[in-house]
Amino acid sequence: MNQTIEIIGAIVTLIGSLFLFLGALGLIRMPDVYNRIQAGTKATTLGTMLSLLGIGLIHLDWYGKIIVLIIFVLVSNPISSHVLAGAAHYIGIPLTRRTVIDKLSDKPMIRVQKENSNSETVLTDEKTGK
C-alpha cells in the first residue's frame, strides 16, 4: 500500500517536471519577452504544483506545508510575472514583429487615425492614453 502511494507520487512529480521542461523550452523558443513570460508563468505554476504534490504523496506527514507552499506559489507566481511584464513594457522593450495590436503603447492614436477607423476606438484610446 505504502509502496503504491510512493510510486503514484513519483509519477506525479515526473509529470510536473515534464511541464517545467516544456516551460524551459518555451523560454528558448518564444520570440519576445512577453511571450516568454507567458510560457514561463503557466508551465512553472502547474509544474511546481504537481512536483510539490508528488513530494507530498511520498512524504505524507509534510502535507500541510505542501498545501501552504502550493497556495503561495499560486498567488505569487502570476503577480511576479505581471510586474515583470508591466516593467518591460514601461521601459519600452519592443514586442515581436508578429504582433498584431498594442493598445497599451502611446502610438495607437496615430495608427487609428491613419487607418480611418470608427470614432469609438479613438474615444477609448483618448480616455486611457495619457
Binding site: 511541464f19 516544456l22 516551460g23 523550452l25 518555451g26 523558443r29 518564444m30 520570440p31 519576445d32 512577453y34 511571450n35 513570460i37 507567458q38 510560457a39 508563468t41 503557466k42 508551465a43 505554476t45 502547474l46 506527514d61 509534510w62 502535507y63 500541510g64 506545508k65 498545501i67 501552504v68 498567488v75 502570476p78 503577480i79 510575472s81 505581471h82 511584464a85 508591466g86 513594457h89 514586442l95 515581436t96 508578429r98 504582433t99 498584431v100 495590436i101 498594442d102 493598445k103 497599451l104 503603447s105 476606438t121 477609448t124 486611457t128
Partner: protein
C-alpha cells in the same frame, strides 16, 4: 467592518499555523490562537482587504465552483502552451488588448488579474482603474467588448458574487 477583517485574518493565520505545524495537540492550539489573535488585532485593523468579501452560502458555493473552473483553465492553459511550444512553426499571433472589468473591490480585481494570467494564452500587463491591458498570445478580437467576453467573462460572473 473592522471586526470582520480581524476575524477573517485570525482564522486565516490559524489555518496557516496548523498546516505548517502538522500537530493538533492542546499546546499547539493554545500557542496558535494566542499568536493569531495578537497579529490579527495589531495588523488587520488597518487593512481593508477582507471587508469586501461576501460570506453568504451562495458566495461560498460560487467560490468552490470558481476554484474548479480555475484549475481546469490552468491545466488547459498548460496543454495550450505545450502545443504551441512543440509545434515547429510556433503558431502565435500575439498582441496587447484592452479589457474592461465590472469588479469594484481591489482584492477581486487582483484575483481576476491572477486568473487571467493563468488561463490559456493571456497575461495581464497592466491594470488602470477598471481597464486591464492583456497580452494575448492568439488575438481573436481586438475591440473591447468581445475581448472582455472572451477573456474575463468566465471568471467575472463568479468573482462578482464573491467580492461584489
Amino acid at each position: 467592518m473592522r471586526i470582520k477583517n480581524t476575524i477573517v485574518g485570525f482564522f486565516l493565520l490559524l489555518a496557516t499555523w496548523f498546516l505548517l505545524n502538522g500537530k493538533y495537540d492542546i499546546v499547539t492550539l493554545g500557542i496558535g490562537i494566542l499568536i493569531s489573535l495578537f497579529i490579527s488585532l495589531i495588523f488587520c485593523n488597518k487593512c481593508e482587504i477582507f471587508s469586501e468579501m461576501n460570506f453568504s452560502p451562495k458566495a461560498i458555493l460560487y467560490f468552490i465552483v470558481y476554484v474548479f473552473v480555475f484549475l481546469t483553465e490552468l491545466v488547459k492553459s498548460n496543454f495550450d502552451v505545450a502545443r504551441r511550444v512543440l509545434t515547429p512553426s510556433l503558431p502565435i499571433n500575439p498582441g496587447i488588448v484592452e479589457v474592461e472589468t465590472k469588479l469594484k473591490s481591489k482584492l477581486g480585481r487582483m484575483i481576476l488579474a491572477n486568473s487571467i494570467t493563468l488561463t490559456p494564452g493571456t497575461l495581464t500587463v497592466k491594470i488602470e482603474n477598471d481597464k486591464l491591458f492583456i497580452h494575448w498570445i492568439n488575438v481573436v478580437n481586438t475591440d473591447i467588448e468581445n475581448a472582455t467576453k472572451d477573456i474575463a467573462a468566465k471568471f467575472e460572473k463568479y468573482l462578482k458574487v464573491i467580492y461584489g
